[in-house]
């Protein structure tokens, strides 16, 4: 299949950047990243600068791939990361627009690569358990009701790719932060520090320059791991409770 790619090329954070057109020959069974590999091979052979893009596991679990394909983070396929998106979802002769995730908090490093360390700093501010909880406990050592463990697991499925920020009209990081707060808060080891965690992670999120959540729901539609915005409501509850009812005064 012959494709026209309109790819965002930007030499560095300070560069203005622009869309450039490329022609590539791909096959249906290629993944989207393999199709870009073919393009880059072509560019290297022509002694041109290959397109920079993030990738790591290429099996949909690491959260490294980050690009907006035809206006949709990770492309048009539901619950699919870019690396798991296959070219059979496109047609011969298609024009595909590829650009980086866009948010002030995610500055472009080069081409399609963005700096998502704002997420790391949100995690560093409280996305952990302070005490050593030892080795993985035996199964059913601590009885946890099935519904709760399933909800915690659903939140823990977040791979931190940042598609929620990319999709949000406000570039808000609430879905990410709420997933990270939720998966710890729902389980007994994490619940102890739940309120303090909600406070510090929201404070860091605000500091990073993400927008505010306005409940548009775009994040949960685009999330490759289908994280629900019910997590955002849980974070709201935790934050409101810890701000209003907790006797701890955070300065």
């Amino acid at each position: 299949m012959k494709l026209t790619l309109q790819i965002w090329r930007q030499n560095g954070p300070q560069d203005k950047g622009k869309i450039e057109n490329y022609q590539v020959d791909a096959t249906e069974e290629m993944s989207f990243l393999e199709m870009l590999d073919v393009l880059n091979q072509q560019l290297i052979e022509e002694k041109k600068d290959p397109v920079a893009f993030d990738h790591d596991c290429r099996e949909g679990i690491c959260g490294a791939c980050s690009m907006v394909i035809n206006g949709r983070p990770h492309g048009p396929q539901k619950a699919t990361t870019t690396c798991q998106l296959h070219m059979r979802h496109f047609k011969d002769g298609d024009t595909i627009v590829i650009e980086p995730f866009r948010a002030n908090a995610f500055p472009v490093v080069k081409d399609l690569v963005v700096d998502r360390s704002a997420f790391d700093r949100i995690i560093q501010s409280g996305g952990y358990i302070s005490v050593n909880t030892g080795q993985a406990p035996d199964g059913n050592d601590i009885p946890i009701e099935k519904g709760i463990s399933a909800t915690a697991f659903d939140a823990a499925a977040c791979i931190g790719c940042g598609a929620c920020v990319a999709a949000c009209p406000n570039a808000s990081a609430m879905l990410f932060t709420s997933a990270k707060v939720s998966h710890l808060a729902l389980l007994p080891q994490g619940a102890v520090e739940g309120e303090r965690r909600a406070q510090s992670m929201v404070a860091q999120m605000d500091k990073e320059g993400f927008g505010f959540c306005s409940n548009t729901g775009a994040c949960e539609i685009e999330c490759p791991k289908e994280i629900s915005i019910s997590n955002i409501a849980r974070l709201n509850r935790q934050y409101l409770k810890s701000s209003i009812a907790s006797s701890e005064i955070n300065e």
Partner: protein, 227 residues
Amino acid sequence: MNWFLRFFTSSIGRKLIMSLTGLFLIVFLVIHLIGNLQLLNDDNGLSFNTYAYFMTTNGLIKTVSYGLYLFILLHAFQGILIAKVNKSSRKNRYVSNQGQVANWESRNMAILGILIFAFLLMHMGDFWLKMKMGQLDMVKYDGYDHPVKDLYGRVSIAFNQLWIVAIYVIGQIALYLHLKHGFASAFQTLGWNHPKYTPLIKSVGLVYAILIPLGFALIPLYIYFVK
């Protein structure tokens, strides 16, 4: 900064203000509509004018109305501030705009809010200001020991002009879209998300968003086309 200020200037704290003031305004609209439906009575303004007299003289209602003005301003002011933050958090826009998956109204609450606020200024200038400060004709009804201001007459004059009726209908369409997103969104911000009740909140919100603006739009349309 003390905890109180820190809380109300945080992203979630500011959203709480939007949610609570929004919910207050949602309750107000119901009462406002029920009262105003008396304009449809064919009694030469008796029920509406005596109701308007009660609403502008009763001490408790006057006190609540100051709260209402404050909450409208707070909702509008905070909403504009939030919209500014949200707009500026993505300085470089996407080249492709095929990817808008969220509802139009949820993405344009600020624009709808500004439209509603502009409508509100006109609406209050036309009736509220004239009731409070302007000269309105006085009418005396049988069985009442004092005359009351004829706001009914003023409303009838206004709603006999097509352009005013048109502005009211447009204002209500903006209100419908604003409420369509705002009603359920207010509960989500409060953290009220529950597998059993969220679908209910969404349905009630949609019914509310349709019925209330429809009721308000009916008043000028009825006066213009029927009376």
